[in-house]
């Protein structure tokens, strides 16, 4: 494919678009995994945001 004397401008433009979009996708995927990992860590330690029905019953029994 011959893009003429300005080919470097065209390839640089498309390259930067690909680079930024790939960077955004990578950031979104890694950020999602990090949040999932932290949530799983809290769940493993039994931390809950609010007392559920069982927890409420248990505390009232005590």
């Amino acid at each position: 494919m011959d893009l003429g004397p300005n080919a470097s401008f065209i390839w640089t433009a498309y390259g930067m678009v690909a680079f930024v979009i790939a960077g955004l996708i990578t950031w979104l995927v890694l950020d999602g995994r990090e949040q999932q990992r932290r949530l799983a860590d809290f769940e493993a330690r039994g931390v809950k945001r609010r007392a559920g029905p069982k927890a409420a019953t248990a505390s009232s029994e005590n």
Binding site: L3, G4, N6, I10, V17, V20, G23, G32, Q35, R49
Partner: protein
């Protein structure tokens, strides 16, 4: 019976729906952009005046469209937060800011590369280029303002107000090419009288625009999901701190 938007207002239901939608939306975006690139490089002819360099248009113009659409989404979300207190409005606004900023950067960068061979310069301080640069700074301002305030509720309200004030930039950008002297070409697609581009170039441009739009939707869905998870993590951190504090206090009592 709940309406569709009422169901979406529930973060848990949004997470379920977005998890099912996301792979399809992302796949659709990849397919449309791949087809758009094929049209851009193998079907669209060189521009009769600018030659091959006009192929930058197929990424420059869609990036600029998404830059403006992303900001419009933030402004609508800001309105939804301040007026209707929609639970996901702030999540949507926060998630869209970095993506919109990235596309605004791409519009500026690719436009600059197109400008050098077409105009003889990478940059001129005319109304169109300057107003898009201000939009980029506005995006950065929204991100910086939110990051600088620890109180999530206060941060969301202040950024929403700034977002609503900043919406004045959208008509300024749109009509900037009609005001005064500018090197930038006037609108040639979004015109009341219809597009003035030949269909052999317009079709690839619209396909790439659709691809970028669907890609933005996919990335925004993912960013919203991440933000909801981040808020759940923060709530759990606070719950853990509260539990620890109560255990410290209890023996003393």
């Amino acid at each position: 019976m709940q309406t569709f938007t009422q169901r979406l207002a529930n973060p848990t239901q949004f997470m379920g729906l977005s998890a099912r939608l996301l792979p399809w939306v992302a796949g659709l975006a990849a397919a449309i952009i791949a087809y758009g690139l094929y049209l851009a490089f193998f079907v669209a002819p060189p521009d009769y005046l600018q030659g091959e360099i006009a192929r930058i248009m197929f990424v420059h113009v869609p990036s600029a469209w998404i830059a403006m659409a992303g900001y419009a989404l933030i402004a609508v979300s800001a309105f939804g937060l301040l007026v209707f207190r929609h639970p996901l409005a702030d999540v949507a606004a926060k998630a869209a800011a970095p993506i919109g900023a990235a596309f605004t950067f791409l519009a500026l960068f690719t436009g600059s590369l197109w400008g050098k061979p077409a105009w003889g310069t990478y940059w001129v301080w005319d109304a169109r280029l300057t107003s898009v640069l201000i939009l980029f700074f506005l995006y950065l301002g929204l991100i910086a303002l939110r990051s600088s305030i620890d109180d999530e509720t206060l941060a969301s309200k202040l950024t929403a107000i700034l977002a609503l004030v900043g919406i004045v930039m959208l008509p300024i950008i749109k009509f900037s090419v009609d005001w005064g002297n500018t090197l930038h070409q006037p609108s040639s697609v979004l015109k009341l009288s219809g597009p003035t581009i030949h269909s052999s170039i317009l079709t690839p441009l619209l396909v790439m625009g659709a691809g970028f739009l669907v890609l933005f939707v996919a990335m925004h869905l993912k960013a919203m999901r991440n933000e909801i998870l981040r808020r759940r993590v923060k709530a759990l951190q606070l719950a853990e701190v509260a539990r620890a504090a109560s255990q410290v206090v209890a023996p003393a009592e």
